[in-house]
Symmetry: D2
Subunit: 150 residues, 4 copies
């Protein structure tokens, strides 16, 4: 896919840096390409549920950001990004120690984009990453609104 804004990587990093929730959860950028963003989320005891796995909502938060920013890379400069809805399936417990949350644009529309997300777990002693969650997110491109930008 080709990003209409040649400066999409910096624009995405700048917007990500303005999301306090990402810092609070310790989510970091792993890679940015046109229509494809990978975020990293490390296991932390204070983000778990009652069985000691990462709370589904934490995985959803990182995946939603990955999907939203994957769509954002393909938007024109000055546009804002809004999640309309997403659906997540939890396939396996998120035990950690590291998750990669990947968003890949399936369709980049003028108003509506559809993005698939996958969360992969890197487990100690295993050479393969394990798929622990999948997401589909519907993302809206917003223009001309001061309250929803970058």
């Amino acid at each position: 896919m080709i990003a209409p804004d040649p400066d999409f990587k910096q624009r995405t990093r700048d917007s990500f840096a303005k999301q306090p929730a990402m810092a609070t959860l310790g989510v970091t950028i792993e890679s940015i390409a046109a229509g494809h963003v990978v975020l990293a989320l490390a296991h932390r005891a204070d983000l778990t549920q009652q069985h000691g796995f990462l709370h589904a909502g934490m995985v959803a938060t990182a995946l939603d950001s990955a999907c939203g920013y994957a769509a954002f890379t393909l938007m024109p400069a000055g546009a804002g990004v809004l999640t309309i809805e997403f659906k997540i399936n939890l396939l396996a417990p998120a035990r950690g120690p590291l998750l990669h949350c990947e968003g890949v644009v399936k369709k980049a529309g003028r108003t509506i984009s559809v993005v698939d997300g996958q969360a992969f777990q890197f487990e100690p002693g295993s050479s393969e990453r394990k798929l622990v969650a999948t997401m589909t997110a519907t993302i809206m491109t917003v223009t001309g609104r001061d309250d929803v930008r970058h």
Copy 2:
């Protein structure tokens, strides 16, 4: 709806207390009834996205817990609760200052329960609460597994 376990309220409070993610996000229990749980989430700057609204993932986290625990109230003692999947629609920006996240069981099955969630915002100067997000969650009752309990 009638809970098979007369001690469902205490059992739900105990399990909720074991979710570190709830404390980290400041989510608290507002009310527990059979098949119906309400959690409260206050706006906090460190949980916002780039526009200053609560991150969709934070709303999803509280709603997922509300839905999971609504199903949990109707499970037999000793059962564990797992979210298989959920879908959330974001209807309006979560500006705060207070959200109530409500889970209401639509179907309580032996293995699979389906729960509807709604997040309502209490805005200053308004007498009405505003619907800001809806969720449908598919929840599984797990028995006989030591790693998934309470």
Copy 3:
């Protein structure tokens, strides 16, 4: 809810009449109100799956139309309606003999509407209708496109 187009009932009936799939499946209009549409679907052996229940896709088809038209009632004259996505949970087998598929608008936006759907079964010998499926649909208002209208 208040429909901006006073002629919304006739406009909805006219559009519904232009959906050949509805006639093929035997779906009929039960009622139309602003933001609220009920369609009826009778059991038919040629629409079943391998266990003799209505195929999930048939229930989804009628529910999707109910949701789309519920949103359509609140659109301005001349607008077209498109389903962006929907999610359906199947709660109980659709045994028939009659289903009512109901769409209720939760949010009517300028571009995006969110509609909840419920399918109720009327069973012989029972005075209560049974909830057999729930849906959430995200619907788009389309203007200025000749290929997507009414």
Copy 4:
């Protein structure tokens, strides 16, 4: 993926043949492999919506069957398959003349399987197939129930 039942292809064809809805809509089997099923759906005027495209519900029906049978290929002999829920995103109008609806298992669990679906359109004069819809379906393996089998 490896099917536990060596006779999974014939078992899948037999079950498919027992779905009257597939014949009614003209859906046929394109290919069956372990964890991977492709169904074909030809455009037919009597299955369209008001703009002349295939009704979203028709695409959903074929995709749901593709996803359900993809999971079915990996189930033990004697098991029944039930769709718990699915979500579909419509990416482009289903203009025809031919759709391939593909289900690919992402996770095959003992009780719950998660399957991704994609609908591709073959357009005249184009050498590439076009993605028109994506689905995620949650499928349940049912054993020991006479009403839900094959």
